[in-house]
Amino acid sequence: MFHLSIVTPEKIFYDDEVKSLVVPGSEGYLGILSKHAPLITALKPGKLEFKDSHDKHVIFAVSGGFLEVSNNQANLLVEAVEPAEEIDLERAQKAYDKALKKLREEGDKLSEVELAAEKTALEKAANRIKVYQDTH
């Protein structure tokens, strides 16, 4: 067992012991168990899974963030996290369509900053849809 805290800009989302953790690292999914070597990594949008102290398996959709593991303590900094069962598919689909449309129609007019923002939005929406489909 090790301690996991999931912190978002809005609140401390989770702060308790867990048995195992799987995160979407920037280079692919990685699993963390107790006594993992110190690690810092960036995360990309994806599926976050962990097994809590009662062996309950929980799945979340996360947008990008960071993970730091040291001294049997995992700190997860994420921009947004959503339990898989609470994902609003319709809303995710809408966000996806909107971003896609904007990229298709005005892609060449947007500044680099706006372009990057739209791309991240698209990626996040796609991820939420994917996690929803994986778990339902």
């Binding site: 070597a37 960071f66 900053v113």
Partner: protein
Amino acid sequence: MATLKAVKKRIRTVISTKRITKAMEMVAAAKLRRAQQKVEQTRPYSRVMEQMLGHLAAASTDDTVVHPFFEVREIKKKTLVVVASDRGLCGSYNANILRQATQWLEENSGFETEVVTVGKRVNDFFKHHQWSIVSNYINWDGKLDYDKAKEMVRFLTWRFLKKETDEITLLYTRFISTSRHQITETCYLPITKPKEKEETGYNIDYIFEPSAEAVYDAILPDYAASKMVTALAESFASEHSNRMLAMNNATTNAEEMVHSLTLEYNKARQAQITKELLEVVSGAEALKS
């Protein structure tokens, strides 16, 4: 001596003003509670992020890690971001920050300077004084709007990376407690590289996925964003608590005024009764003789 009617009218006016200030105080108190909650919510995130950045710097001791956000350039142009409120009636909140901003601009008059404003009040002020405003963010309604904050961060970082400006300073009011606020001036960009030596002394050999540079690339924009969000949250909490205090003072003053006016009213009333009595008595005296 004022006439009875005039005094009575004034009392009524003061009472209705008092009612308004009392209501505004209560509204500000409710908003403050929410804003304070926001401040407390944003703190853990920025704390953990700072800690992570510290570990990152401690572990990647080679100075080869260069990131555009760390780049200290020869300064030609400076940008000042001033965070204040959209609305007035909040005591000296805006006046204080504007005084500090003006002072900063005077101190840095040797450089080319520009201002980014948050809140209508500052915007109007700088427009009036003809400083160059490059961008303004108004109509926050005293609430933290993440999208707006992100847009701001995007604008500022972009300006810095494009070398449109060489240093960005952030001026905001830090919320310490309901009655204590502190005007804070921090360097927003370039980001000062965290001290490499950690005071805890543990120098852990971290694994970086995929590399320290890549993690820096990902974390620094978020760090910049979180810094801005924290500053905004603190400012809004300060604004509401300032307004609450100002309105509380106004209510107390109104109460005092009602008290002294009532005294005046009673005096005038008594004086009138005495006068009438005198008239009656002297009338009767005149009839007798």
